[in-house]
Amino acid sequence: MAVTDAPRIVTSRLAYDDSHTLERYLATGGYEGLRKALTMTPEAVAAEVDAVSLLGRGGAGFPAGRKWSMLRKAPTSYLVVNGDESEPATFKDHLLVERDPHQLVEGVLIACYALQVTTAFIYIRGEFALGLERVTGALNDAYGHGAVGRDIFGSGFSIDVVVHPGAGAYICGEETALLESLEGKRGFPRIKPPYFPAAIGLYGEPTVVNNVETLSNLPWVLVNGAAAFTALGEGRSTGTRLFALAGHVRNPGVYEVEMVKTTFRDLIHAPVLGGGIPGGRELKAFIPGGASAPWFGPDQVDLPLGQDEVGAAGSMLGSGSVVVMDDATCVVRAAWRITRFFWRESCGQCTPCREGSGWLEKILRRIEDGEGRHGDLDLLMDISDNLAPGVSWPPQQTTICVLGPSIPSSIASAIRMFRDEFLVHIKDGACPFGSAPHG
């Protein structure tokens, strides 16, 4: 097992019950990164972040430094934090906002200083009521501490930060939908181009949107320097990363591990991480990076947790969520549930997604219910082809955002890996794993 002794960058305080308080934060080096940043020029701070090649931790994996540099060609108006974590089985930002809200606030302030932005909005998923309370409380304390507001820490730089609650809509994690939502509208993704809010963002003004985990790395980077960060991981995947491990493992949870040096096998089986599959069961399949990601089987379990490595193997590291399915799992039911999710969360703007998601869901459901028809697999692939031509990876776009074209991933994976299991459902007119309730 290769569980490295890499330092904990974003979860260093979680051993303390009071990790969310200003007292604990200050006692553990809190706001030192911001103090250091304020002694540097904004360009130098941005260069430091660029140097660590911090890949965005939201799902798309775009380098944070490059996102910033697009902005620094024109004055930025707003920083918006994407804390709308709703990707199935992704629960790392949930942990960060509840357990270390000051770390997020400090990351936001460092980013604002680097970008010379004086207004930031932290958009947090509405269902995270405790997280909203914790970040609001941390912000109140940070204002009192002089870290936010006018002339922070006597630097002459001023900034306001506003915590904004969402209200329950997966699509608002898509950054242009998030901006629409923050403008008080339905969370409809915006038509591209422009591809990046750097050009036209909040209220039409240049905006940077960064994920909670991405920003939570910044205090450590400023204190310890870019070299310490890039010493961890390998290639483009530097540093550590949070992986949310769920499903059939003994110890589901969020684990911070060194990128690339750690494999899926380590994550699933290491005693200090997932602890293996319970009940004497075997691994059947796993989803390596959120509901949109093509599935992997036992053959790919030794792949390293690196963005490029997983990409080259035909899937993605995505949001850092790994869902493990044991050999008693019905893959038709699993694919159906993921498809049902997309159907419920489609915003409805684009026909292929709005209609296609519902059709796919109905067909998968009837197969699971033992009412599948001869030719249903071809029909599933045909509809999938309309959503994402060629059903290739990464998917081709037919819609305004990536939600629709992501739908076929789980279906295509399940059919490719377990075609016979689908056929048995149809031939026998019943689920071989027995009928389980499904709402």
Binding site: R72, K73, A74, P75, S77, S86, E87, A89, T90, F91, D93, H94, Q116, R125, G126, E127, L130, L132, E133, R134, T136, L139, N140, Y143, V148, G149, R150, S158, I159, D160, V162, V163, H164, P165, G166, A167, G168, A169, L182, E183, G184, K185, R186, A246, G247, P252, G253, I287, A291, V323, M325, T329, R333, A334, R337, F341, A436, P437, H438, G439
Partner: protein, 212 residues
């Protein structure tokens, strides 16, 4: 002018929230949460007042609110129980839990008990998959929920034993922001102009270097 529906202190808080944003409409979702805290759900009378506060029509408030799962434009129970049934929870018995919840509460998913105490919903991923199956009551988390746990939670709610943990439906954030914005618009404007000027100067310098 219609008679005021939202209480004066709620209106005062609503105005404070509007003042946090460069454009009033941005306050729409926070104000909808505030109205739900007042009424338990989003009443038409409240939507009329929200519309006035943010400068749009009541129909636009309704049209926006119906997009979001947490905003209820129909009356809901005092406790809204949302059972996550997405993949991670499903793999650990979420639908069996939901079925038990229906039997235990005597209602179907998507409906409210006759006494107005409970509304039962099935939810998409609530992001507590480390403790699957999970559920929320009024957006407070309960994890690793067994059928026995579920019955205990319901009993405790009925008996008022969870009053501290689970506020009435609609109360989202019990921690309030201290004060409004500290940086005035003039400072923001002048800092932005200074940044723009500095950037233009650097760009001009680069260009002339490039031309030379």
């Amino acid at each position: 002018m219609t008679q005021a529906h939202l209480a004066p202190e709620v209106m005062a808080r609503a105005r404070e929230i509007v003042a946090l944003y460069p454009h009033p409409r941005s306050a729409l979702i926070p104000l909808c949460h505030l109205a739900q805290e007042h009424d338990g759900w989003l009443r038409p009378e409240a939507m009329v007042e929200i519309a006035e506060l943010v400068g749009i029509t009541p129909a636009e408030v309704l049209g926006t609110a119906t997009f979001y799962d947490m905003l209820h434009t129909d009356e809901v129970g005092r406790y809204v129980v949302t059972v996550c049934t997405n993949i991670a929870c499903m793999l650990r018995g979420a639908y069996e839990l939901l079925e038990h919840a229906e039997q235990s509460l005597g209602i179907r998913t998507g409906s409210t008990s006759a006494d107005g105490s409970f509304t039962l919903e099935d939810a998409e991923c609530l992001a507590d998959c480390g403790r699957a199956p999970c559920l929320q009551v009024n957006h407070r988390f309960f994890g690793d929920v067994t059928h026995e746990d579920f019955d205990r939670i319901v009993d405790d709610l009925r008996a008022g034993r969870l009053a501290d943990e689970v506020p009435p439906h609609g109360t989202l954030v019990r921690v309030r922001r201290d004060g409004g914005l500290r940086v005035d618009a003039e400072t923001v404007g002048s800092e932005r102009r200074a940044t723009a000027a500095a950037m233009a100067e650097r760009a001009a310098g680069t260009e002339s270097k490039g031309a030379g």
